[in-house]
């Protein structure tokens, strides 16, 4: 596996974690999520990849979409976290802390 592959794989998991976390704070529509993720450099390199991810999270029952009227233009699809999504997010947080500490320990040496 090359260095690019490593970055892609790590980012993919991290983006999912970030999306669940953002949706836990409040509901978002797709473009809002992309805008927030794009505020940090280098995380979401292809913005379009967020939609297959959201589709998967929806099919896994972690997020649920809801159509809302928009003040401008057609209705928007808002995503929010389901109780199962909250549970998964808690799990991700625990794993993240564990992984972060482990990597810091091993890589800093």
């Amino acid at each position: 596996m090359n260095a690019n592959g490593f970055g892609t794989q790590v980012k993919r998991g991290v983006i999912e974690f970030c999306v669940l976390s953002m949706l836990n704070r409040r509901e978002h529509y797709g473009f809002e999520l992309v805008q927030e993720l794009s505020r940090v450099d280098g995380l979401l390199t292809s913005e379009g990849t967020i939609y297959p991810l959201l589709s998967r999270l929806r099919r896994a029952g972690l997020v649920s979409p809801e159509w809302r009227e928009s003040t401008s233009g057609p209705p928007r699809k808002y995503y929010r976290l389901t109780p199962e999504g909250e549970h998964t997010l808690d799990d991700y947080r625990r794993q993240w802390t564990l992984i972060r500490d482990a990597v810091n320990t091993l890589v800093s040496e």
Binding site: G5, R12, S38, T45, E47, G48
Partner: protein, 250 residues
């Protein structure tokens, strides 16, 4: 607006994505395409028809190559030609969840480690190396506990000797009979002298030994087991699983 306007760029892009998503179920494909279309509309300020070509092209470029989007869709569902996803999604979950044996091994290692570790060694869900490391924690702390018990026993007997010597001196000086009630009038300072240093020290060692030997070691071993639990059939699947989400770009 020329013949090849912004809408053409958008529909070209969406057609391209759609073609790349050929093997994805229809419902999912149209969901992704609709979401992409809504995204583009938002990205160019709400109205595609009044958007500049530059804005549209910029939005499409930011979305990424259709292959990238398709790769995520395929990777996300495990729709990969080389490594088909398990027929039953529940099977995939089952591979990761510990069985009764593994739960028993982890819990019992924390509570009563000899049985817990025995179960862990029976299970094939840990690598041998991890079993050795997990066993080392309670064993090492058990040895520390044993060492402290031995040290405590030695300390106890020496402090006991000094106390008896002390009390003999006290008794001889006051020439009182060996009645327990009579020893009470001794000043607190005398009692303090005889039991102070070694008493507190050995009590501290006993608590420390208890913590290390009975709690910390087995508990660390149990946590280690929980962390190192391998998916079922990890050996035969791990390599494929690692790359399943990331097929070569087509």
């Amino acid at each position: 607006m020329n013949a090849y306007g912004p809408e053409q760029h958008i529909s070209d892009y969406l057609d391209h994505v759609s073609a790349k998503l050929g093997d994805i179920p229809e419902q999912e494909r149209s969901e992704i395409l609709n979401d992409l279309e809504a995204h583009i509309r938002d990205a160019v300020g709400g109205d595609v028809l009044s958007a500049s070509e530059a804005d549209v092209l910029n939005a499409l470029e930011r979305l990424g190559h259709p292959s990238e989007v398709a790769r995520e869709a395929r990777g996300a569902r495990g729709h990969d030609q080389q490594t088909p996803a398990p027929a039953n999604p529940y099977e995939e979950d089952q591979r990761k969840t510990p069985g009764a044996l593994e739960v028993g091994a982890i819990v019992l290692t924390a509570i009563f480690w000899p049985i817990g570790l025995l179960l862990a060694w029976i299970s094939d869900r840990w690598k041998t190396r991890d079993k050795v490391i997990a066993s080392a924690f309670p064993l090492a702390s058990g040895l520390v506990l044993l060492a402290l018990l031995v040290a405590g026993a030695v300390g106890w007997s020496t402090s006991g000797t000094s106390v008896s010597v002390d009390s003999v001196q006290t008794e001889s000086s006051s020439s009182a009979p060996q009645d327990p009630a009579q020893t009470e009038p001794r000043s607190p300072a005398e009692i303090g002298e005889s039991s102070d240093g070694s008493g507190v020290g050995s009590r501290f060692l006993a608590v420390l030994g208890f913590l290390l030997g009975v709690i910390a070691g087995p508990f660390t071993g149990a946590v280690y087991l929980a962390v190192k639990l391998q998916p079922r059939d990890a050996s035969s699947h791990s390599d494929q699983k690692w790359s399943s989400g990331y097929p070569a770009q087509t």
